[in-house]
């Protein structure tokens, strides 16, 4: 359970930092007065959708941290046989990085009111994300053809489960990206789409980060890292 406890600690630090900015030591019974008398105490000025996305990322992060926790507890059991990770995953990872870069491109273009590049970025990002998903499905096929079916070993079960969870989150992101692209396509003003592009970009970077963590876990690179941490702690 160390992954999820660590994740919760990070969340706690963020929440604690935010709370420390909120005048929680105020004595509200003495502070009668008009709004504006107490600076920095009003509601957040960020758009609701952006805050909503931030909260959602915390929820999704907690979900993946729990998968990682379960994985690392289960892998210490005797019947665990590590799965040979298909080489295709490296290609897929590259595609997902491209997808993230494309969306960053769209985001930077949106900030400079360059609609043409926004469209290019969004389309390239969407196309490469779809390529990533197709690549994941092909990787599943390859594993299945090689006899690594879902129930034959817990390592396989986790592989399918975790990649599926990540893929489903990405599909959810594609729905939002599709709506944004459609809006741009129909000739929406930059002011109407800038926020959507930004949120898609944040989500894409998050999904890339999660994928890198999961890839490290599934390929076993992080084992050495975890081992070093454990030595340091004990």
């Amino acid at each position: 359970m160390s992954a999820i406890v660590l994740f919760m600690a990070v969340i706690a630090v963020i929440v604690g930092w935010w709370l420390s900015q909120q005048r929680l030591t105020a004595k509200p019974w003495l502070e009668e007065g008009a709004p504006g008398d107490f600076p920095d105490a009003d509601a957040m000025t960020w758009p609701a959708a952006k805050i909503g996305l931030g909260v959602f990322l915390a929820v999704a992060g907690s979900l993946f941290a729990l998968f990682i926790s379960a994985y690392s507890m289960r892998m210490n059991m005797v019947d665990w046989r590590t799965l040979p990770v298909p080489g295709l995953l490296w290609f897929n990872t590259g595609v997902l990085v491209v997808s993230s870069i494309a969306l960053q491109w769209a985001y930077l273009a949106a900030r400079t009111d360059d609609m043409e590049n926004v469209i290019i970025g969004l389309c390239a990002g969407g196309a490469s994300a779809i390529t990533f998903l197709v690549g994941q499905l092909v990787a599943w096929q390859q594993l299945r053809a090689a006899g690594y079916v879902v129930a034959s070993n817990p390592a396989n079960s986790f592989f399918y489960l975790i990649t599926a969870a990540h893929g489903l989150h990405l599909i959810g992101g594609l729905v939002a990206l599709g709506r944004t692209t459609a809006k741009v396509w129909r000739g929406a003003e930059m002011a109407q789409v800038r926020l959507s592009v930004e949120l898609c970009t944040i989500y894409w970077h998050f999904m890339l980060l999660v994928w890198l963590a999961l890839l490290g876990l599934l390929t076993g690179w992080t084992d050495n890292f975890v081992e070093i941490c454990r030595r340091l702690l004990t």
């Binding site: 929680l24 502070e31 007065g33 509601a43 909503g52 929820v59 979900l63 379960a70 059991m77």
Partner: protein, 591 residues
């Protein structure tokens, strides 16, 4: 003392909060059924939760009939008994209490109390309810599928949960897991709304430290639920894989009916960790909204400001954080390392500190208050007493050495029913009596309400106090029939019969309450906008019940905290939050 008068002119310019684009319903269907108005969604949540809660109430009667009069009722066999306890527990904890506090009270009170027009994502909010309804329907459908609902116990521990010895192994467990997954998806949609509305849509002047404690409680509980429910989600998905696809996440190698099963190597303890990583915060997900609501009820009905508001807020936040590092105290008998046991016992007992602060502050709020023994106040007082009782037995169970012999006895059942069954239900009922006038414009009948309170309160004690004693004797929980055992005196059977009769009576008292809800809706005394003379914003709406968009043309502006009761020199014994600053009257000013 300087004379003060309250200036009717606003000190601040009208609200400059950006107007949100409200969705305006165009037909009866979008107004009352597929509504995006948080108040309608709140009532939909509450009615659905109450309906499925009634099923759980009937199930508890069935269990008590069996325990009180074993062998008398031929329609309750051992399998059905297990199904009844499982469904009773799951419904009460998740589909009733969580849904009612967050989906019901959260939806109704957050926008009104922080001065917003609606939740920030109304469409997602509507989806949240419909997914919740689907989850409830899937859950209820398990009563009608072949094999019936699962009988795995509400904790659904593997391996027994998906083995053929447990009733409901065919469809019951699959649908239960599917229903939980749906519930979590629906809740996440709603939860995002509650959190972001509090963060972003507060009206001008509503600083965090001016929010009523109800909002603090619901807000913190929602954050906890958003972070804790994924653990149940992960556990449910993995168990669904084990059951349907034959994986071995949780399932060890097993021989069933002489046959080696296909499972092997899995870890049931892993499930327990995931389940309780959700399950313990869940206790506080139910308790924190109750803490918040009860603070407001006590302050309003004792006409006194809440004692130690800052401490109350800090305690809510501290309890929320601590509740994530105590989960393994549900697993003392799972064979954990003694050092872990010591760690979790310590964190568990540390939670008693912020909790005790809250109890002291409630009592100190009552101290020398102008206590009105209204029905909401009676329920609030009932809550404090019950919560202290339940909390004290929690100290027993939090200690490893005391817990081990008490584990899986009726003592545990009595403990958690007191602390997270009866206590939060007291608050739910008090809150309904308190806010029903705002929701309907009519008061609930007072005589019926007092009858309801006394029967429920005394009855709950007559049910659960003797149950502690039965547990101390060593009578195990989850047993269909305790039979004849040397350590169980025959008086236990008499006591069990008594408890069962009390359970029937308390259950019937709830029917009186439901009658009151319906009768008062049509015939109740008109309440006016602010019958309890309360300060918080929801009582200051231009219409009662509040119209679409909650406020008239302009949003309210907040000038003070939520607890200005009995302020010396004020004209009334309460000053609403949106009343501008008091100005010393000219003639009374010091020379």
């Amino acid at each position: 003392m300087v004379d003060v008068q309250y200036d009717a002119l606003a000190d601040a310019p009208p609200a400059e909060v950006p107007e949100v684009e409200l969705y305006h319903p165009k037909s009866w269907w979008t107004r009352y059924v597929f509504s995006q108005d948080a108040k309608v969604i709140a009532i939909q949540y509450s009615l659905t939760a109450t309906a499925i809660g009634l099923v759980a109430l009937v199930l508890s009667w069935m269990m008590r009939l069996q325990l009180g009069f074993p062998g008398t009722f031929s329609f309750i066999d051992a399998n059905q008994y297990l199904q009844f306890i499982t469904m009773h527990g799951m419904i009460m904890v998740i589909y009733l209490l969580t849904a009612l506090f967050l989906g019901g009270f959260g939806n109704y009170l957050i926008p009104l109390m922080v001065g917003a027009r609606d939740m920030v994502f109304p469409y997602v909010n509507m989806l949240s309810y419909w997914v919740y309804l689907l989850a409830v329907l899937v859950l209820a459908s398990t009563f009608f599928v072949p094999g019936g609902p699962t009988g795995a116990g509400w904790t659904l521990y593997p391996p027994q949960a998906i083995l053929s010895g447990t009733p409901g192994q065919d469809w019951g467990i699959i649908l239960m897991l599917a229903s939980l997954i749906l519930f979590i998806i629906g809740f996440t949609m709603g939860g995002l709304n509650y959190v972001v509305t509090v963060l972003q849509a507060r009206t001008r002047g509503m600083t965090l430290m001016r929010m009523p404690l109800t909002v603090w409680g619901i807000f913190t509980a929602t954050i906890m639920a958003l972070l804790a429910f994924p653990a149940l989600f992960v556990a449910s998905v993995m168990m669904l894989f084990d059951r349907v696809l034959g994986t071995s996440f949780f399932m060890p190698a097993l021989v069933e009916m002489g046959q080696q099963m296909k499972y092997g190597g899995g870890s049931p303890i892993l499930f327990q960790h995931l389940f309780w990583f959700f399950g313990h915060p869940e206790v506080y997900i139910v308790a924190l909204p109750a803490f918040g609501i009860v603070s407001d009820l006590i302050s309003t009905h004792a006409r006194k400001n809440i004692f130690g508001y800052r401490m109350m807020v800090w305690a809510i936040v501290a309890i929320g954080a601590l509740s994530f590092i105590v989960w393994a105290h549900h697993m003392y008998v799972s064979g954990m390392h003694p050092k872990f046991g010591f760690f979790f016992a310590t964190t568990t007992l540390i939670i008693a500190i912020p909790t005790a602060i809250k109890v002291y502050n409630w009592v100190l709020t009552l101290w020398r208050g102008d206590i009105h023994l209204t029905v909401p106040m009676l329920f609030a007082l009932g809550f404090i007493i019950t919560f202290v009782n339940g909390g004290l037995t929690g100290l027993f169970l939090g200690n490893v050495v005391v817990d081990v012999p008490l584990s899986d006895t009726m003592f545990v059942v009595a403990h958690f029913h007191m602390v997270m069954g009866v206590a939060p239900i007291m608050v739910v009922l008090g809150a309904i009596y308190h806010w029903y006038p705002k929701m309907t414009g009519r008061m609930l009948n007072d005589a019926l309400g007092k009858f309801h309170f006394w029967v429920t309160f005394l009855g709950a004690y007559l049910i659960f106090f003797p149950m502690h004693y039965i547990g101390l004797l060593g009578v195990p929980r989850r047993y269909h029939d305790i039979g004849e055992a040397a350590f169980i005196p025959s008086s236990t059977h008499t006591l069990n019969a008594f408890i069962s009769i009390m359970a029937l009576i308390v259950g019937f008292a709830q029917m009186v309450f439901l009658f009151n809800l319906v009768w008062s809706y049509f015939k109740g005394r008109p309440s006016g906008g602010n019958p309890w003379r309360a300060t918080t914003l929801e009582w200051q709406t231009p219409e009662t019940p509040p119209g679409h968009g909650n406020w008239g043309k302009e949003l309210p502006v907040v000038y003070r905290w939520a607890y200005d009761y009995s302020v010396p020199g004020a004209a009334q014994d309460f000053i609403p939050q949106n009343q501008p600053r008091a100005k010393p009257a000219l003639q009374g000013a010091a020379p």
